[in-house]
Amino acid sequence: MEGRPLAERQLVERARRGDRAAYEELVLAYGTVAFRTAYLLTGRAEDAEEAAQDGFVKAWRSLARFRLDEPFRPWLLRIVANEAKNRRRSAARRTRLALEQAMEFSGDAAPSPEDLTVATERRERLLAAVEQLPEAQRDVVVCRYLLELSERETAAVLEMPEGTVKSRLSRALEQLETVLEGV
């Protein structure tokens, strides 16, 4: 789940002893996911960059309180997520999430252009619906599905019981289902 748990653990141990180079390795390893977490929560690249950077600096200062038997990623992302939530702006100032350009297919198995358009429109509608969810549900959906965290990690990052994650997810999924069915 953590990719390189052994290496990560060693890096965290070294960082806790004040090894800045080890911590820089952790920043390199988790910089992208930290930035993306902050971006999904704040909706603005500038806020996300600040939140991720401040989060890493605060995490460095809090390393003494980190328990080595815990996974590092959710602990770090919780700090980053808090920084991000403190920087949330009004909905109007959020950059709307967009999809990457679709990849090109070739060969016999390639879907027709019409099929691709339908699939893209469906995805865009779903993404727009995610953005319109109430914030509490949106955060949970974003962490669980867009960041692909487990329910347990989502609970840790958003600082809520796992039961709350489950109930918010199920309400959000019901809501999103109506959007998809309304095709």
């Binding site: 920043v27 390199l28 960059e49 779903l126 999924l173």
Partner: protein
Amino acid sequence: MNDVEAALSDLAGRIAYPPAPELAAAVAARIAPRRRRRGWAVFALALVAVVLAAALAIPGARSALLRWFHLGGVTIERVDQLPVVSKSAPLALGRRVTLAQAERRVSFRLRVPSGLEPQRVYVDTFPPGGRVSFLYGSRARPRMLVTEFQATGTSTYAQKIVPQKGTVEPVSVAGAPGLWIAGPAHAFYYVDRRGGVDEETLRLAAQTLVWQRSGVTYRLEADVSKDEALRIARSVR
């Protein structure tokens, strides 16, 4: 997993995120012990001042200050002894952007070594007009750094301290004036946007080629021979 969950999971890999910023350098700079960093800049300035004073006060005294070169915004000083600099100094290159974004943010035309698509592009707002850095290889294992910024012949944008053992040789890069700086690592300083002296990493400063064309100063840092550096520099267009 139901349909909605499957559809949401399908979205995960398709979100268009802005390019991830270069967090490692910024974080490293912020968690570095402040006192040492400040002390360094003061020490560097003091050293330059002492060298200048010695050269000016004693007629003909050129023992410490061997020679000055001026090239665009880069001033190179050869001094007797190279200060020891921490190897963990972060690369302060600015924001990581795409090549197209960098082109929009600077007031001069960017030139890229032909056939060498930069792997990482950074842009900084200082000096005026902007500064762009092309990093080849990874940040942890950099292989080459090409920096471009606008500089006039009179402004002193940067200072280099080259050890006496190092060599500084005037060269021509396809007709443009340049300098080849080889030898042990040398320090590289620049004036930051608040007017303070800052240091740049020594990691890549083993061999440096600096040249100027049409009001733009180019710097290429890599562990390569002079001929190789000149060959790459000639391809920058």
